[in-house]
Symmetry: D2
Subunit: 307 residues, 4 copies
C-alpha cells in the first residue's frame, strides 16, 4: 500500500508499543528496529500513539518524537496514522502540523476523554479539528475509555468535513459497525472503516470493514496479515481458524494484566527490549507477569510463529 497523500487506507495497522530504556526514556533505536520488523512482516501501516502505545503516559514532546521515529523507520514503505490528540484543539492542531511534517499519512484523534461529552460536544470538537487540520484526520472511537462517537455524529462529520477520512472503532460491536458503514458509505464511498477489536476482525472484514488496528498485530503481525489476506481471497475457514488464534492471544494478554501491560510482555517475547512500564508495578504484579509470559509464549506459538 502506498503512503501517498490521498490514498485510501486499508489493511492491518499496528498500534504498537514504545520500547523504553533502563531510565524510562524512549529507546529510539529499538523503536525503529521494531517498526522495521513489523513492516517486514507485512503490516499495512503503523498507528503510533494509540491506546496500546500508551499515548497518555508520554509528554507532548515525546509523542512527537515517537511519530518522527516511526515515520523515519517506516521510510515510506507503509503509511503512518499518527495519534495526535492533545489537551485541546489548539495543541492538537500543532500536533497535526508536526505529524504532517514528519511524513504521516493521517492523524488519529481519540474522542475527548476524562470528561464524558454529549454527541453534540463530540461533534463540535472534531469539526473544529477537521477545519483547522493540515493533514487528513481519522476518528478514534473507544467508548470503554472515551466519550462515544455515535453513528449520527460520524455521519455528520463525514458529510461536512472532507478532512475526516475514516474511523477506527474499538467497541467490537458489529451491529454498530454495520450501522456506521450503512450511514456513511453512500455519502463518502472512500471513507475508511477500521475495527480496533482484535477478536472481531474476521466478521468485521466480512461486514465491510477496510481493515483492523490491532494490538495483537504488534505481537503476531504474520497472523493478522494472513487473516486479512485470507478474507480477501475468500478463504473463510482459514481466516476463522487464525481468528481463534489471535482471540486466544488477546484474551490472555488483555485479561492477564492491566492493559496494555500484557502486550509489552508479548512484544518482549518476539525479541524486543521493551523495558519497564512507566506505570509502576508491585512485586506481586512483577511475579504475575512472569507467569503471564509463559501463557503468552504458548499462545504466540499456537499462532505458528516462534516466541
Amino acid at each position: 500500500m502506498p503512503s501517498s497523500p490521498g490514498a485510501p487506507l486499508s489493511g492491518i495497522l499496528v498500534p504498537h508499543m514504545v520500547p523504553l530504556d533502563g531510565r524510562g526514556r524512549i529507546n529510539e533505536e529499538e523503536l525503529a528496529r521494531y517498526v522495521r520488523w513489523l513492516v517486514d512482516r507485512g503490516v499495512h501501516g503503523l498507528y503510533p500513539n494509540g491506546s496500546t502505545g500508551e499515548f497518555t503516559r508520554f509528554t507532548v514532546e515525546e509523542r512527537r518524537r515517537i511519530v518522527s521515529v516511526v515515520c523515519e523507520a517506516a521510510a515510506g514503505r507503509v503509511p503512518v496514522v499518527a495519534g495526535a490528540a492533545e489537551a485541546n484543539v489548539v495543541e492538537t492542531i500543532a500536533a497535526c502540523q508536526h505529524a504532517l511534517e514528519a511524513g504521516a499519512r493521517a492523524v488519529a484523534i481519540v474522542s475527548p476523554f476524562y470528561f464524558k461529552l454529549s454527541p453534540e460536544s463530540v461533534y463540535a470538537y472534531f469539526r473544529e479539528i477537521a477545519r483547522e487540520s493540515p493533514i487528513d484526520v481519522t476518528l478514534y472511537n473507544i467508548p470503554m475509555l472515551a466519550s462515544p462517537i455515535d453513528v449520527a455524529t460520524v455521519r455528520r462529520l463525514a458529510g461536512e468535513c472532507p478532512r475526516v477520512i475514516g474511523i477506527k472503532d474499538s467497541s467490537g460491536d458489529i451491529s454498530q459497525m454495520q450501522r456506521l458503514i450503512a450511514a456513511v458509505r453512500p455519502i463518502r464511498p472512500e471513507f475508511a472503516f477500521f475495527t480496533g477489536w482484535d477478536a472481531a476482525l474476521v466478521p468485521m472484514l466480512l461486514a465491510g470493514c477496510d481493515g483492523g488496528v490491532h494490538a495483537t498485530a504488534g505481537v503476531v503481525p504474520e497472523t493478522t496479515r494472513a487473516i486479512y489476506d485470507d478474507v480477501q481471497a475468500g478463504r473463510l475457514d482459514a481466516a476463522f481458524a487464525r481468528q481463534r488464534q489471535i482471540t486466544d492471544l488477546l484474551d490472555i494478554a488483555f485479561l492477564g494484566a492491566d492493559f496494555p501491560e500484557g502486550f509489552r510482555v508479548a512484544a518482549g517475547l518476539r525479541g524486543f527490549a521493551m523495558g519497564e512500564s512507566r506505570q509502576p508495578a508491585t512485586d506481586a504484579q512483577q511475579a504475575d507477569r512472569r507467569v503471564l509470559a509463559d501463557k503468552i509464549k504458548a499462545a504466540i506459538e499456537r499462532c505458528g510463529v516462534r516466541a
Copy 2:
C-alpha cells in the same frame, strides 16, 4: 426442518408476542392464526415465552396455555422451543414436563434474573434443571436483563449435561459468540448456537451460528428467512442488504417505545389483533405509539413486504 426428538435445531426461530383480547386475556384464536401465518412465511421454529413474548407478564398457567396453543398451531410443521423458566427449579421442571406433553421440541430457560448471580450459581442452577428435565434444554443468555452465562459456564454445562443442547445468546457480541463456539463445538459438535440480536444476524451466521431468534422475525418473517437462505447459498451481498433492512426495523421498534411495545405495534401492522399491553400506558405514550406505527410501517415496506 422436522420437529422430531433429537433433531438439531437451526434456522430462524420466532420469539413471537401473544395477542390479547379486549379484557387483557390471551386471544388464543389470534395466537394460533399468527403462528400459522409465521410458519407459512418460512420460519424454522417458534420460541414462545421469550422476552419479546413478555413471559414475565403472564401467570404460570398462562405461560403453559401459550405453549399448548403454539404447539397445536405449529402442528409439527416446525419445532417449538418453549420458554419454561419459573420461580425455582421445582416449578421449572413442572413447566418442562408440560412442554414435553404439549409437543415442544425443547425448552428455553433464561438465566436467573432479578438477583444477579455469579457464574458458579448460574452453573448450579442450570445443572440442576438439566438433571431433572424430561425434555431437551436450551440456555438463554441475555446479559442486559439477566445474570450472564459466561463461556466457561456454557462449556461446563455442555460437557456435563447431555440434556443441554444449545444456547440463544442475545448479547450481540460476536467475539463472545466465536469464543462460545470455539469452546463448545469440539466437545459437542451438534450443540446449537443461536444469536438473539437481530442486528448481528448475518455476521453471526458467517461466524458459525446455526440460526437466530429474532423479534423482527415476528414482523417480517419473509425477510429473516431470506437472510438465512442467502447466507446458506453464499449470497452475501443480498444477505447484508436485507440485514440493513431488519436492523433499521429493529432500531425503530426497539428505540421507539419501551421494549417490546414496538413489536406489538409492528405485528399489528401485519394484520394481527394484538390488543393492549398488560403494562399500562399513559395518554402521551399512546400518542407516541401512533407516530411510531407510521415509522414502523415504512420500515416494513422497505423490507419489500406489505404492512
Copy 3:
C-alpha cells in the same frame, strides 16, 4: 407503633427471609417463631416478600401464605408491609386484596423488573395499581435490580395518588434521598421515606428518613433498633459506632455469597432453622458458606449480641 389503618409508618422494618424445611417447603412454624423473635427484639415492622425474602423464588400462592403467616405471628403488635408485586397489574391487585384480608398495614410494590422501563412507564404502572388497590401502597425502588423510580415519578405519584403513602429506596444514594424528601414532603407531609441500604442508615435518618428496611435487622434486630433510638435521642456517636457494626456485618454477608445467601447463614446463626436455598449450590459454594459462617458469627458478636 400501632398497626392501625392510616397510622404513618416509621422505624426499622425487617425484610426477613423465609425458613424452608427439608423438602424446600415453607417452614411455617419456624417462620412464625422467627417473626415473634424479631418483634420481641424491638423491630417496628415486618416487610415480607422483599428482596432479602427472595420473593421471586416463591410461587404466587406461597407469597400469599408467607404474608398470612407473618401477619398472624405479628398479631397486631407491629405493622406488616407486605410485598405484593405479581406478574401484572391484575395479579398484583389480587395480591393487594389478599394482603388486606390477611391484616397487613400496607403493601410494597417493587418497580417493574426484568424489562427496564422508562420513567413514564414506571409511573403508568404504579398509577394503575394505586387506583385499584384496596390497601395503602408503598413504592420499592431498587435500581440495581429493577427499573428505577426517579424523583419526578415519585413526586407525580405522591401528588396524584393518596393510596401511595411511602417509599423504600435501596439505592443508598443520600443525595437522591434528600431530593426525594425535598420534592415530596411539601405536598405530602406524612409520606414515609425508608432507606433500604443498611450501610447508610444513620446518615439517612439524619437527612430526614423515617426509617430503614434492612436485611441486617433480620440478623441483629437489637442493633438496628438501637441505632434508630440513638438517632431519635441525639446520641450520634453511639449511632455511628453501631452503624459501623452493621455495615461490617452487611459487607461480610453481602460480599461473601450471592445475595441473599449470606443472610440465610446469618439468621441460622441466631438460632433459626433456615434450611437450604431454592437456588442450588455447588459443593464449592457449600464449603465457602461454612467459612463465611465463621466470619458472620464474628461480625454478629462485634455487634454485642450472641451468635
Copy 4:
C-alpha cells in the same frame, strides 16, 4: 485556617474554574481577582486544577502557571491544594516540586484515568508518587471518570505513606465514605476526608468528613461556607435547608450542559469574565447556555445571594 506546612486540612475548598481571555489564554488577572473574591467570601482553601478546573484542557506549563497565580493571589490567607497529576510519575513529581515552590500546602493527585487500572496498580502508582513527592499528597477519587481508589487501597497508602495526608472522594457514596473513615482514622487520626459531591455535603460532614471540595463553592461560596459553619454549630435544620439550595444549583448546572460548562456560566453570573471554553460549542449549545444562564441565576438567587 493557616496554610502552614503540616496543618491539617478542613473546611470548604474550591475547585475553581480558570477564566480565559478572548484568545483562549489564561486570564491571569481575572483568575487572581476570582481567587481573592472566593477567599473574601470565606472559603477555607483553593483546589486549582481539579475536574471543575478542567485540568485536562490545559498544557503542563499552563497548569503550573495556574498554581502559581492561585498561590500568589491566596497570599497565605488560605491553603492551596494544587492538582498536580501529569502524564506519568516523573512528570507528576516535577509538578509536585513546582507546587511546593509556588507555595501550595499540598498537591491533589487524581487516580490514573483513561486506562482503568486495578487496585494493585492504583496502589503502586500512588505509592511511587508518595515516595518521591517533596510535598504532602492528597488522593483524588472520582470513580465516574478515573480508576477507582478502593477502601483497602486508601488504607494501605495511609498506613505506609506519611506523605499521603488525605483524600477527596467524589463518588457521593456515603456508605463508602464511612468505610473509608472507619478504615483509616484509627491508624491516621489526622488524615483528612473531603467529599467532592456537593449534594451530599451535610450528611458527609455529619458522618465525619473534614470538609468538601465543591464546584458550587465557586459560585456561592457564601452558602457552602455557611453550611460548614452550621454543621459545626449544630444548626442542622439550617444546614439541610442550605443543602437543598446548593443541590438545586448543582443539579441545574450539572445537568444543563456538559460538565463543567454550567459552572463557567454560573461563575460568569457572579461577575467574572470567564471567557469561552476550550471545548468548542455549536450554535445550538450556545443558545442552550443562554437559557441555562437564566435557570442558574434563579438558583443562585434562591441561595440568598445576588447573581
